[in-house]
C-alpha cells in the first residue's frame, strides 16, 4: 500500500531519528569500550609499574643484602688471619679439629667412594656393550671420572653436608648459649680461636681425604669390574695407567683445597652469626650447607675453565 507523502516524511524522520540514536548508541558504546579498554590498559600499566617497582625494590634490597653479607664475610675472613693469642693453643686446636672434622670422615668417604667407583665401572661397561672399544677403556673412564670429578667435587659436596652442618650448628649453639660472648668478654678473638683451626684443619686434611677417596673409587671399580666379568684385572689396571696426565691429580688437589676452604669458612660464617634460638641454629645449618654447595659448584666451573682449558 502506497504511503502518504506526510506519512512518508514522518517515517523518514523516525528512521533518521532511530538511526541517529543507533549511531549515538554505537558511538557511545565505542567510546565506553575505548574508555574501558584505556582504563584496563592503564590499570594493567599501573599494576605493571607497581609490580616492576616492587620487584626493583625487592631486587635492590636483596642485592644490597647479598653485597652486605659478602662484605661481612670478607671482614670475617680477614679476622681469621689475625694473630692468635697463643700459638701453642692454636696448634692443639688444629690437631683436635683434624681429628674431629677430618679423621672422623675417613670411613664415610672411603665407603661412598668404593661403591660409587663400582657403579661407575658397571655403567661404563654397560655403555660399551657390543661396541668395538677395547675393554681396558673401562678402567680409563673410571679413573678419569673418579679423579677429575667424583672425588674432588662430589665428595666435597657430601662433606659440605656432613662437616658444614656440624660446624654451623656447633658455632650457632655456642652463639645462642653466649659461649662466643664469653670468649669476647675474656678478650679472646672468637673468630681466630674458633674458626681458624677449622679452616686450617680442613685445608690440610681434605686433600688426604680426597686421595683416599680416589684410591677407594678406583679399587671399588676394579673389584666390581673383575667380579662382574666386564673386564679382566689386567685390562682394568692397564686402563687406569693409560694416558695418565699427572696434572689432572694436581688439578684435583687444587680444587679440593679450595673446596675445603669454602666448606669451613662459609659454614663457620653462617654458624658464627646465628641469632635467636634452636630454630635459628637449624636454619643456619641449612644455609651453611646450601651456600657451601652453591659456592663449590660455581668455583668448580671457574677452576675447571682456568686450569683445564
Amino acid at each position: 500500500m502506497p504511503s502518504k507523502p506526510g506519512q512518508s516524511q514522518e517515517l523518514t524522520t523516525a528512521h533518521e531519528l532511530i538511526s541517529k540514536e543507533a549511531s549515538n548508541v554505537k558511538t557511545r558504546n565505542v567510546v565506553f569500550f575505548v574508555a574501558f579498554k584505556l582504563i584496563s590498559v592503564l590499570k594493567i600499566g599501573y599494576l605493571l609499574i607497581v609490580v616492576v617497582n616492587l620487584h626493583l625494590i625487592l631486587y635492590k634490597t636483596h642485592a644490597m643484602g647479598l653485597i652486605a653479607s659478602f662484605g661481612k664475610y670478607l671482614l670475617f675472613i680477614a679476622d681469621v688471619f689475625r694473630k692468635p693469642e697463643r700459638r701453642s693453643v692454636m696448634y692443639k686446636l688444629v690437631v683436635k679439629e683434624v681429628y674431629e672434622l677430618g679423621f672422623k670422615s675417613v670411613l664415610f668417604v672411603v665407603f661412598v667412594s668404593l661403591f660409587v667407583g663400582a657403579v661407575v665401572t658397571l655403567q661404563t661397561a654397560a655403555n660399551m656393550e657390543g661396541s668395538w672399544m677395547p675393554r681396558y677403556l673401562i678402567g680409563y673412564a673410571t679413573r678419569d671420572a673418579i679423579l677429575l670429578e667424583f672425588s674432588p667435587t662430589i665428595i666435597s659436596l657430601l662433606l659440605a653436608g656432613k662437616i658444614g652442618s656440624n660446624i654451623a650448628s656447633s658455632l650457632g649453639t655456642m652463639r645462642v648459649t653466649e659461649q662466643i660472648d664469653a670468649l669476647e668478654v675474656m678478650g679472646v678473638n672468637p673468630v681466630t680461636y674458633l674458626v681458624r683451626p677449622k679452616i686450617f684443619a680442613l685445608m690440610f686434611f681434605n686433600p688426604l681425604l680426597i686421595c683416599m677417596s680416589m684410591f677407594g673409587g678406583v679399587i671399588g671399580g676394579w673389584i666390581s669390574g673383575t667380579l662382574s666379568g666386564e673386564c679382566t684385572s689386567a685390562e682394568f689396571i692397564s686402563g687406569i695407567q693409560y694416558d695418565f696426565v699427572p696434572f689432572k691429580a694436581v688439578y684435583a688437589i687444587i680444587k679440593t683445597i679450595l673446596f675445603a676452604f669454602i666448606i669451613a669458612s662459609v659454614s663457620s660464617f653462617h654458624g658464627f652469626f646465628t641469632k635467636g634460638g634452636a630454630l635459628e641454629v637449624g636454619r643456619s645449618s641449612t644455609r651453611a650447607v646450601v651456600f657451601s654447595s652453591v659456592f663449590i659448584i660455581v668455583s668448580n666451573y671457574i677452576l675447571t675453565q682456568l686450569l683445564l682449558n
Partner: protein, 250 residues
C-alpha cells in the same frame, strides 16, 4: 670504680637506654634492677664493650672505653670477669678445663701453678671432686658456681653477673648471692649484678640502680628501698604479697 654518664643506646629507632648515669663502687655489690625489657642487659653489654653506646661515657678507673676498638680494650678485658645468665660454660671442656681456659690464654704460670689456681677457685666456690665432669653432667647451681670460678680465676678487678640466680631454687640462689658478696669483699672487686630477684636485692644490694624503660629512676641501698617513696620502685619491689607484708611489718 666504674662511672657511667648519660649513656644512650638505641637499636634502629628504638631508644633502649636514655641518658643513664651511675657510679658502680669498688668493693661493693652494685645491683642493677628493673623489669624484663627495661634495658638492664643492654646496659651490662655496654659496660662490657659488647655494645657501643650512641652517646655518653663509661669510665673504668680513669679509662674511658666508649669508641675504643677491641684491640685497645684487650688489657681491660683481662681484668674483667663475667658470669652469664646460663653460665656460658664451654660444652666441649670439662669443669677443670673451663676454669683453666683463661689462665691458658693469658697467664704465664706453669701448668702446675695453673692447676693449683683452678683447684683453689673451685674450692672457693664450694666445688670439689667435679673437675672431670662436663657441663652437661652438673646441675644449674653447679654450672653457675663453675662460671663464677672461671670469672675470678684471673683475679679480676671487675666482676659482672647477668641474673646469676635465675632458674635456681631459693636456697641455691641465696648461696650464689652470698658467694658473690663474699668474693667482692674479699678481693675488693667492683661487682655489677643484673637482677630482678627481690631476694637478691634485699640480701646483697649494697648499691642499687633501678631502671625503668631505659631511664635511671632511682638509686640507693637495700635499706633505702623500704623507706623510698618512689612510686615506680614501690610498684616493682612490692609487687608480691610477701614483700608487701614485710613492708607493712617494718
Amino acid at each position: 670504680m666504674i662511672e657511667i654518664k648519660n649513656i644512650v643506646k638505641a637499636f634502629a629507632t628504638k631508644e633502649v637506654l636514655k641518658e643513664v648515669s651511675f657510679t658502680f663502687e669498688q668493693g661493693k655489690t652494685n645491683l642493677v634492677i628493673g623489669q624484663s625489657g627495661s634495658g638492664k642487659t643492654v646496659l651490662l653489654k655496654c659496660l662490657l664493650g659488647l655494645h657501643e653506646p650512641e652517646s655518653g661515657f663509661i669510665n673504668f678507673d680513669g679509662l674511658d672505653i666508649v669508641g675504643k676498638s677491641n684491640k685497645n680494650l684487650k688489657g681491660l678485658r683481662k681484668q674483667i670477669g663475667m658470669v652469664f645468665q646460663g653460665g656460658a660454660l664451654f660444652d666441649s671442656m670439662n669443669v677443670e678445663q673451663n676454669v683453666l681456659y683463661p689462665l691458658q690464654m693469658f697467664s704465664k704460670l706453669s701448668k702446675e701453678e695453673m692447676l693449683q689456681r683452678v683447684n683453689f677457685c673451685l674450692k672457693r666456690v664450694n666445688l670439689e671432686n667435679v673437675n672431670h665432669l662436663f657441663p652437661s653432667e652438673i646441675s644449674g647451681g653447679m654450672k653457675k658456681r663453675v662460671a663464677i670460678a672461671r670469672a675470678i680465676v684471673l683475679n679480676p678487678k671487675y666482676l659482672f653477673c647477668d641474673e646469676p640466680n635465675s632458674g635456681l631454687d631459693p636456697y641455691t640462689a641465696t648461696l650464689i648471692d652470698n658467694l658473690l658478696q663474699e668474693i667482692t669483699h674479699e678481693y675488693g672487686m667492683t661487682t655489677v649484678i643484673n637482677t630482678h630477684d627481690m631476694n637478691s636485692v634485699m640480701e646483697i644490694g649494697e648499691k642499687i640502680l633501678f631502671i625503668k624503660e631505659g631511664r635511671n629512676v632511682w638509686e640507693g641501698t637495700k635499706t633505702d628501698i623500704i623507706t623510698s617513696e618512689n612510686q615506680h620502685l614501690q610498684d616493682f619491689v612490692f609487687s608480691s604479697e610477701l614483700f608487701k607484708t614485710i613492708k607493712r611489718k617494718s
